[in-house]
């Protein structure tokens, strides 16, 4: 049953409005979002900027590794990005999957401290398990909503606390 009402005003407040929370008081968290789909990259970028994050996107795992300075045999570090506070990656990507990317990041001394979240359009329990086992902080289902990203951001705040060692899985 669909009911609709409309107002012609330009401002809207919805229940999924982005939560603006402080991060270290002044800096915005820097998120690296990896996805081979144009559409999904654009959407996640907006969801994240709405949640007061700074965003860098990559269209594949190799690109992400280069941005992090973690690619095999990487010589040129000119394109590497400044401190990344969170990595969100799609699971299914051509070439290297999000799972493989997760492993590579966790294997590196600099990368392993960065929380990694895996996103997938498929709800496959064994897939979720193996990602969490490999160190993913969360596993989210696509398509992502503003509320997912806001919740993620608030978990980031808690994860920043060394006394909190928690793993969260969001089901639907």
């Amino acid at each position: 049953m669909v009911t609709a009402s409309a107002t012609a005003s330009a401002s809207a407040s919805s229940s999924a409005a982005p939560i603006l929370m402080g991060w270290d008081g002044d800096e915005k968290p820097h998120v690296l979002a990896v996805d081979d789909s144009f559409v999904d990259r654009r959407v996640i970028e907006k969801l994240l900027t709405n949640s007061a994050c700074k965003v860098t996107t990559a269209e594949n795992a190799q690109g992400a590794l280069e941005l992090l300075g973690l690619a095999d045999g990487q010589q040129n570090f000119g394109n590497t990005v400044s401190k990344v506070n969170l990595i969100i990656t799609d699971y299914s990507m051509p070439g290297m999957t999000g799972y493989e990317l997760l492993k590579k990041i966790k294997e590196s001394p600099t990368g392993k401290e960065i929380p990694v979240v895996i996103v997938s359009s498929e709800h496959i329990p064994t897939r979720i398990e193996k990602c969490l086992e490999e160190g993913a902080k969360e596993f989210l289902l696509k398509p992502l909503r503003q509320s997912d990203v806001n919740q993620l951001r608030s978990h980031l705040m808690k994860l920043g606390n060394p006394s909190d060692e928690g793993m969260v899985c969001m089901g639907r």
Partner: protein, 154 residues
């Protein structure tokens, strides 16, 4: 037509797209992401989807025309299409892709060929509807009005 009338037409048209199952809640999420800093967000993302889709449909059609069909490849394309249509809320396209993947798994060429037709049909339908919707929006804005904010409950 005056602005109020145009806005009412827009509301009715949008409502019908949800009622007919052509669009789902994810499209609303996209609309909610649109704001003064990104006033064309929905059109931008949907245009990306259209571009992506034309390529995917071509790749799919070609892959199924091969003497020996590579079902893994076909399935990969359909998976991608399912993902992007789901991301913009094109519900019927997404559902057609889900059915399609079953035939890929069964390695059923005839089934797959029928599915491509089905997916194409649903894609052109949503494309047509969204282009009409965007044209209405342009009219409203050109007449000095603003696009209504929809509150939909399912």
């Amino acid at each position: 037509m005056e602005v109020g009338q145009m806005q009412r037409r827009w509301v009715d048209y949008t409502k019908s797209l949800f009622l007919e199952g052509i669009l789902d809640g994810q499209f609303l999420q996209l609309q909610q992401l649109q704001d003064e800093s990104n006033p064309d967000f929905v059109v931008e993302v949907v245009s990306l989807f259209f571009e992506d889709s034309e390529k995917l449909l071509n790749d799919l059609t070609r892959a199924l025309e091969q003497p020996s069909v590579d079902f893994k490849r076909v399935d990969a394309h359909v998976h991608q299409f399912k993902g992007s249509s789901s991301s913009i809320g094109a519900q019927r396209v997404k559902n057609a892709c889900i059915a399609f993947r079953n035939f890929c798994e069964e390695q059923n060429t005839d089934g797959c060929v029928r599915c491509v037709q089905q997916v194409k049909q649903e894609y052109y339908l949503v494309k047509n509807k969204l282009e009409t919707l965007f044209a209405m929006e342009q009219q409203i804005v050109a007449a000095g009005g603003s696009i209504p904010i929809l509150e939909l409950s399912f």
